[in-house]
Amino acid sequence: MNAYHPNKAKVLHFGSFRCLPKTLQKQGNTATKMYIFAAIYGSVSFTKRKSISEMLKNQLNRLFFCVFALFVSVSAFAGDTPDLKPGETYNPTPDILHHIADANEYHLFGDVSIPLPVILYAPDQGFTFTMSNAFHHGENSVDGYVMYHGKVYRAEKGLSKDGKVDIKKVEKREYYDADSVLHSEMIAIHEGGETKLESSSTLMSFTSFYDFSISKIVAIMLIVLVVMAVLFIPIARKYKSRDGKAPTGVQNLFEVFVVFMTDEVIKPIVGPRYMKFLPFLLTLFFFILFCNLFGLIPFIGNPNVSGNIAFTLALATIVFLVVSFSGNLDYWKHIFWMPDVPVPMKIFLAPIEVIGMFAKPFSLMIRLFANITAGHIVILSLVSLIFIFGQLGESIGGASVGAVLAVLFVIFMNIVELLVAFLQAFIFVVLASLYIGSAVEEHAHH
């Protein structure tokens, strides 16, 4: 039974971004991260999920964490979750997976959440507009929708589609079917009985409703949009007002990035028509970079924006569309009817090239998602060392060792993640430039 309460149990991580030692730049961290990623998932089926909530019931640990809150911000844990039974170990997986997922409310720490607009659409019910605090952290339903762990679900039957209904509890039930396949169901228990819940539509499973809410990561994207507008439009004006003069201040800071991306990446890769794609590629770079960096800022909930697969899918799709619509005749010829090879080879190559056409944006999507998500998972796993070593407050010594280790590793990982934030934005744009470059390239005819 999994009944942790991520609304109220939240781990934030700390980072020192002042310096980035050169030795770190050689970190081949992706493999390490994916290993840990796999290890966490691998361990899931063998350990029972357990809450970290009872740990602050221990007064000594409360004191202990006040001290270490300076280094690793840990929020207050509370909830009606069952206590850790003797012999059970703390399993950080649910907390970590909850953290890296999107949510309909912006949880900061403790009981403090920023309410966000919730926009829901069900074909048989129409639009529902509300704020996330109308759900009272899942204590009541709104028009047949129920919030559980910051995420909105829709009740299938038996729950009023109009107005509020008190929800006693939401349970996740897991069972194996005849073929030993694990199924899980979400059940809302309320006055009128039990109702099965379903999650919003994804590309993988379409359900009875769509969630168009300004979710946590959408809110961060909007903030990034505003930050970029406030930053770059005045900088652009400076190029007119200070024409012919050396750049100063923030203009100088971002000119380094713009010039590097333009002269070292976009210009040589895209080719002579680069000016047409420059605004797009620079917007892409800074949008991804700022979203990456927002996920690293401590104490603001560490939103996993660019580690969200829908985010990377959308960007990769846009890159795919740009490549496809700017592709010249040569590009399409090289895909469907490869020049200068015998006809059987042309027929053989065409399907491979068509797959490649889709594999390229697909790799963009997976790369950014996996790298950023893995970074968040590693940092959260390291923070979880405190609770794992401390056996949820049973062992203060263990928690101390865990905290010392966690602080050191988390600082280290945050610095690595800072590098990864830049690196992944860079790689995304390098590859997007490469794909655009191959689409607009003028082939010298053989």
Partner: protein, 169 residues
Amino acid sequence: MILLDFNIIAPAIGTIFWTSLIFILAYFIIGKLGFKPIAEGLKKRESDIDNSLRAAEKAREEMSQLVAKNEELLAEAREERSAMLKEAKEIKENMIEDAKIQAREEAGRILDAAKEEINNQKMAAITEVKNNAGKMAVSIAEQIMRKDLANGDGQQAFVSKLIDDFKLN
């Protein structure tokens, strides 16, 4: 199954919609109003720097040409000066030489004239002496004639006296 429980690998429709919308907005707002002018400004600055470097190179070339020309002129002037000096020296030497020759000639002429004059004067003097001696001899002889020539001693003294009196004028 656990992965599917969380929306991390299932792309949510709403997030795809919002990401696309926000990115397209970002492109049209920041790409068009921000990065395009920035890129153009940078390109303009690049070409400006390029142009001014080329202009500086051109100016430097012109300058070096000018300097070479100046040097040439200076060398020419120096040469001219030394030529002039040389000429002047030659003229001076020639003049001195000429003057010397002339002076020598003049002096020779003067000397010759002087010699001739002296000769003439000498001849005149000799002639005069001759004349005077003749006159004196005649006059002495006259006076002797007139005086008594008996006394031999007296005669001798008289002649001496006459000779003394007879001033060689």
